[in-house]
């Protein structure tokens, strides 16, 4: 991940020219430290609200300082809106390589930037699965060419995600893999899970788990309960998740491995994870936007857009997850962005694949549903997307202090507009929240000091 300065478009525009009210080139400068950008009238998140408007200067891909003055190459206007470190997503399916019909690095990382994310961990359940150091290196190389959000690839725990033989953890790590996971498929063999954790612990790698007991989950397509009985759809009991969360957290305790429990969706699994953590298991807990906002009642529409794994649970589970957020029991919000083609989601509920594409709605959705309703302070939501996920990975918390990478996003907390899938950068335009009016849309995202997303600029 080199923080390379922009050098592509300079010189193409010899005369400074107004482009949009938000973005104007005032002079051509640059120099050894790279081009200089100012973000005017930025308001930063502070306790109990936003700071006074301030000018943020960015140079050479890092934050230079505040209210410095002086000539700049690019002037952007934050319009007194929230300016905050770009978000970190530990859980996105970018489908590259091999499933580019669903998503690819260019569309997926652009979608991330449009959602305010500056760093994304890509899941490894691609075709082929990312189980080889060459594939990891190739992903990193291609993502740098894309120049959108930063990519930190995950690699698989087992070769081909077959659950039989461990991958070469150290070689994968050396190639740039930051996490090991067979996400999408639970690791059925408990002994192999133990060995994977022991080996990963030695290397300091995070193992992320999709915790569902596969035999108990069976062919369930939705949460098992009153609604699934009524609809006659095969159910997936919350016990399948709870049992596996117990196993995985217990293995973490046994081995000392850093285990990250992905997408905890139900009350009992959350209780088990919290109990294990309180008793010394070195685990971290993730929840997703969908499990915080939707319930199994949505399946009454018989629309596979709501088919996701783990499944949407009951309102009791949603309430418990939200309560856990408020208590600070959740380490991060991971999107589990899982794009599929529309045709795949227009199959029947048994055949349609699991997954919801949500990178671009995550912040607005949670801001509208949790912060605007007074349920969760803005600072907590930001933490769950910034310092929280960074700490899961042992990374430095994203910050706007001078010298920090200039990964930041401007968010319009006031304006309200409906979710419009057709304007998504993701290839998956369908989503469960289509048409819902939300506030808190990212307007502008900079990664490495470069504008990666500009809502007005296209």
């Amino acid at each position: 991940m080199s923080d390379h300065p922009t050098d592509d478009s300079r010189g193409a525009e010899p005369t400074p020219k107004r482009r949009s009210p938000a973005r104007s080139r005032t002079s051509v400068r640059g120099g050894a430290a790279g081009p200089r950008t100012v973000l005017r009238r930025a308001r930063l998140a502070i306790v109990d609200g936003l700071s006074r408007p301030t000018d943020v200067y960015v140079r050479g891909g890092v934050v230079e300082g505040f209210d410095l003055g002086g000539a700049v190459d690019l002037e952007l206007d934050a319009r007194e809106q929230l300016v905050t470190p770009a978000f970190v997503d530990l859980h996105a399916h970018l489908r590259d390589p091999g499933q580019e019909v669903k998503e690819d690095l260019a569309s997926g990382l652009a979608a991330a930037a449009a959602g305010g994310f500056g760093t994304v961990i890509s899941m490894a359940n691609t075709t082929p699965a990312v189980d080889d150091p060459g594939l990891v290196a190739d992903l990193i190389r291609r993502a740098e060419l894309v120049g959108q959000a930063r990519l930190r690839p995950a690699a698989t725990v087992t070769a081909g995600m077959r659950g039989e033989r461990l991958t070469d953890f150290a070689a994968l790590q050396a190639a740039g893999a930051v996490m090991l996971t067979d996400d999408g498929l639970p690791l059925a063999d408990t002994n192999l899970m133990r060995r994977a954790c022991e080996y990963a612990a030695e290397l300091g790698l995070v193992i992320q788990t999709h915790s569902e007991e596969p035999r108990l989950r069976a062919n369930g397509v939705m949460n098992e309960g009153r609604v699934s009985r009524e609809l006659g759809l095969p159910g997936n009991t919350a016990s399948a998740e709870t049992i596996m969360v117990f196993r995985d957290t217990e293995i973490a305790r046994l081995t000392g491995a850093r285990v990250h429990i992905a997408h905890v969706s139900c009350e009992r699994a959350m209780r088990v994870a919290e109990w294990q953590r309180a008793n010394g298991a070195p685990i971290t807990i993730e929840v997703t936007p969908q499990h915080l906002t939707l319930t199994d009642e949505a399946l009454r529409t018989f629309d596979p857009v709501f088919k996701v794994a783990p499944p949407l649970r009951t309102s009791t589970d949603v309430a418990h997850l939200r309560e856990a957020l408020r208590r600070g029991a959740v380490d991060n919000i991971g999107t589990d962005h899982a794009p599929h083609t529309l045709a795949e989601k227009e199959r029947d509920l048994l055949e349609a694949p699991f997954g919801i594409a949500n990178l671009e709605v995550t912040f607005a959705l949670l801001y509208t549903r949790l912060v605007l309703t007074g349920e969760l302070p803005l600072t907590c939501l930001l933490h769950l997307l910034q310092g929280g996920p960074a700490s899961v990975m042992g990374w430095q918390a994203p910050t706007l202090t001078p010298g920090a990478p200039a990964d930041l996003t401007v968010i319009d907390l006031e304006g309200e507009r409906p979710v419009q899938g057709r304007s998504f950068k993701s290839k998956a335009k369908h989503n469960p929240w289509e048409g819902e009016p939300l506030s808190g849309w990212p307007r502008l995202t900079l990664v490495r000091g470069n504008v990666c997303y500009d809502r007005e600029g296209g």
């Binding site: 609809l231 006659g232 759809l233 529409t301 018989f302 045709a343 227009e346 199959r347 029947d348 055949e351």
Partner: protein
């Protein structure tokens, strides 16, 4: 929607489906069952055909094979002079990765007025209804609903024990023809769309339903529905019932660990003459077919005077005629 010049009833086709009974009032259902009576008379004539649906095109869209249901619908459509096309989607197009919507897009080009849909996935007829202007009759979706089976079962029961509360003659509520009546359904309720639709319809028409079987096949949650109780002991479930319905038991339930063995099921849940003696006097035995003799139902009972299994099949035609007529032509 192709109302042609030869259409005897120029009433516009209404965009209304029979997916389950949620959108249907008890009065709607009672009226439909009344219309089935008229249709039954048609079928007793020498010329068993009326021009009621001439000019309409009905397509059977079966994503799962079911010869008897398809034949019953085709008979019901042709007896009213509708044109019938059969689209055996099977699972071949699905295996090729075609979406449900794309399959529909193809057949929608054939100017169909009404689709009769059978599908292995719950909710597929709902999805189709969102994407087409044609009417949809659910001929069975997954484990969820099989409304025309429930209608023909209700029709069969009405013929046998008449309408009205408690079998009495005084002031029966016409919208609650099954008031005071008890239907007991025995067997693999959880995997049965027939059971779900019968529960929905029988309770809507005022009756009470008892579900009976091992807990693996009859989850206790079903008892939460008003008018429904779950009982695990067969004798207790059958006691006082006016109608007892067996369900199909599929072999794969054993391999899935839902049942220990066929013989244990037979010992605990087979319907026999003996157990039927605990039922109400004159109680009838029903089964949606296909029947596995001497497993679900003892042969002597299946062939005996209590059994209405053959009437159920026969009643399927006038009931489905009434459904097609009601959806395509409407009231009148």
């Amino acid at each position: 929607m192709t109302g042609t010049a030869t259409d005897p009833t120029p009433t516009a086709t209404r965009h209304r489906h029979l997916l389950d009974f949620t959108a249907w009032s008890a009065a709607d259902v009672v009226a439909l069952l009344g219309r089935a009576d008229v249709m039954a008379q048609v079928l007793t004539r020498t010329i068993k055909k009326v021009p009621a649906l001439q000019g309409f095109t009905i397509a059977t869209l079966f994503f799962e094979e079911s010869t008897r249901t398809r034949l019953s619908f085709e008979r019901a459509a042709r007896a009213q002079s509708a044109d019938v096309i059969a689209f055996a989607a099977g699972s071949s197009s699905l295996k090729k990765g075609e979406s449900l919507r794309d399959t529909l897009r193809t057949v929608d080009q054939l100017q169909v007025d009404l689709y009769v849909v059978r599908h292995p996935a719950s909710g597929a007829p709902y999805q189709l209804a969102r994407w087409t202007d044609a009417a949809i009759v659910n001929a069975g979706d997954g484990r969820r609903a099989h409304p025309t089976q429930a209608l023909l079962d209700a029709y069969t029961m009405l013929k046998r024990f008449g309408g009205g509360g408690g079998g009495g003659s005084e002031r029966a509520d016409p919208e609650r023809p099954f008031a005071g009546k008890r239907l007991t359904i025995v067997g693999d309720v959880d995997h049965s769309r027939v059971a779900r639709s019968n529960v929905e319809l029988f309770t809507k028409l005022g009756g009470e339903v008892t579900l009976c079987g091992p807990a693996t096949l009859v989850p206790a949650e079903f008892g939460a529905v008003p008018g429904v109780r779950v009982v695990t002991r067969l004798e207790e479930a059958v006691e006082g019932a006016h109608a007892v319905m067996g369900l199909r038991l599929q072999q794969e339930r054993m391999s899935a660990g839902l049942l220990p063995s066929l013989s244990e099921y037979v010992a605990r849940y087979q319907l026999t003459e003996k157990v039927m003696r605990l039922a109400h006097d004159g109680a009838i035995l029903m089964h949606p077919g296909p029947l596995i003799r001497d497993v679900e139902v003892d042969s002597a009972l299946a062939d005996g005077p209590r059994s209405v299994i053959e009437q159920q099949v026969a009643n399927g035609v006038p009931v489905r005629m009434a459904v097609l007529y009601t959806l395509l032509v409407g009231k009148g």
